[in-house]
């Protein structure tokens, strides 16, 4: 089988609710699907020592990150009976309250999508070289770290 080139998962800035809505609508023609599951990562306005996070500025080692997203995608299709899967991650500045990660899995049956979605999101958090600079309201910053 020919090896596919990894797709670009990254989008500049926040992921809009229009984009997410359109993505859902595009699946109405895929009538073998009986269940969708969606994860939306939202930038949290954490308060640290009296200073509030107003945005996260995302950067990535893009070539490696896209390769890792591709490997996660292949492993997920191997493990779960999914009809399709879409992953989008922001780069650049995303304000608190805006969406920075959109993962969308679909299958004929519901149980599969519950498990698959968690698997995909946990793998993204652990394995993909994306870096986040948390910007505070006074314009100072600190570097985010997934726990």
């Amino acid at each position: 089988m020919e090896k596919k080139k990894p797709k670009n998962v990254f989008v500049q800035g926040a992921i809009s609710s229009d984009f997410i809505g359109t993505s859902i609508a595009k699946h109405q023609t895929k009538t073998s699907i009986g269940a969708h599951n969606i994860f939306l990562g939202q930038v949290r306005a954490d308060e640290i020592d009296g200073n509030t996070v107003t945005a996260i500025d995302y950067t990535a080692y893009e070539e490696m990150a896209n390769q890792k997203f591709y490997e996660i995608r292949e492993a997920t299709f191997e493990k779960f009976d999914l009809t399709c899967m879409h992953i989008y991650h922001s780069l650049g500045k995303v304000n608190a309250g805006e969406i920075c990660l959109f993962v969308f899995v679909s299958s004929p049956r519901r149980k599969v999508v519950f498990e698959a979605l968690e698997y995909v999101v946990e793998a993204i958090k652990a394995d993909v070289p994306v870096f986040g600079k948390e910007i505070f309201e006074d314009q100072t910053h600190q570097w985010k770290q997934n726990s």
């Binding site: 990562g41 920075c100 990660l101 070289p129 994306v130 986040g132 570097w143 997934n146």
Partner: protein, 78 residues
């Protein structure tokens, strides 16, 4: 041989560069990291992983050919 070193996130901030070319003899990852920490003392207290040609490697990995080496701080995707 020539290596391309890439720095990301807080490491780019610590070194004030995102990429550089360096010349070195064949060495282990640990030796390369030592050399970079000498050059950029601010790297010393940072936690990072090393990827060679976009794959994570451990400290004992030997660098024997011209390649791309990336210093990756903790991941924060999602």
């Amino acid at each position: 041989m020539q290596l391309t070193i890439k720095y990301f996130g807080m490491l780019a901030e610590a070194t004030t560069i995102t990429e550089e070319e360096i010349h070195t003899d064949v060495c282990s990852v640990a030796q390369l990291v030592e050399k970079l920490k000498n050059q950029y003392p601010k790297l010393s207290d940072k936690d990072f992983k090393i990827a060679i040609n976009q794959e994570l490697v451990d400290q004992n990995h030997m660098i024997t050919t011209e390649t791309e080496v990336a210093l990756l701080p903790p991941f924060a995707g999602g």
